[in-house]
Amino acid sequence: MKIYVKYFASVRDLMGKDSENLKIEDSLSANELWKSLTVDKKTPTRVLVAVNHEYVDKNFKLKDGDEIAFFPPVTGG
């Protein structure tokens, strides 16, 4: 299945890109995807994940067509 991945702020710096289209195996979780994407990287301790513009639990199972985003804790306001 196909998903669209976005990276923001320090996570974008870590990944060296702001987005990518990926083909992944069915029912991968957000956390499993993150681990596979960062297997060769020193990852920050706090990363948040949103799917289709909603925060989700790290065990959230991805579906075909999902937009998933990884980013650090937010600092607006």
Binding site: A69, P72, G76
Partner: protein
């Protein structure tokens, strides 16, 4: 309700007065207006700030701001609410955010504006990068935010 992400420097007081005049008109049920404006300071964690870059997640940010304001409107019987938030390159004294709520009674407006600010800081996907004499640094939240967010 008005939710806006601004790419250019804006005048929060003009935006507030314009919205009140053009949208809320002379609504005579309003007894209380509570407003918060956040501005860029020239110091953070004992380092001088030259400028700040603010980025957001288009789509998700607006969605969360709308949800946050709607939650406050329902919880506190708010007549209306306004949030404008800057993104892009900001300098010290530039406005970052304005939150305004209108209600019949003061408790409700005070509580709604404060709740909106706290929820915005905890949930709305914005990120600050500060430019100091030692280079750039991503800002990290000063208070741990576990609510409504999920970490990997």
């Amino acid at each position: 309700m008005k939710i806006e992400i601004m790419n250019e420097k804006f005048d929060p007081w003009k935006a507030l007065v314009d919205y009140k005049k053009n949208v809320l008109l002379n609504d005579s049920s309003i007894g209380a207006t509570s407003v918060f404006v956040g501005t860029v300071r020239d110091f953070n964690d004992d380092e001088e700030i030259d400028s700040m870059e603010l980025e957001h997640y288009p789509g998700m940010t607006e969605k969360y701001l709308e949800d946050i304001v709607n939650t406050a409107i329902k919880k506190y019987k708010i007549i209306d609410g306004l949030v404008i938030h800057r993104v892009g390159l900001l300098e010290p004294t530039d406005p970052i955010v304005i939150v305004a709520t209108w209600s019949e009674h003061r408790d409700n407006a005070f509580n709604a504006t404060r709740d909106i600010m706290e929820a915005l800081k905890a949930q709305a996907p914005f990120w600050k990068k500060e430019s100091t004499e030692n280079g750039f640094r991503w800002v990290t939240p000063s208070v741990e935010q576990e609510e409504n967010t999920n970490e990997i």
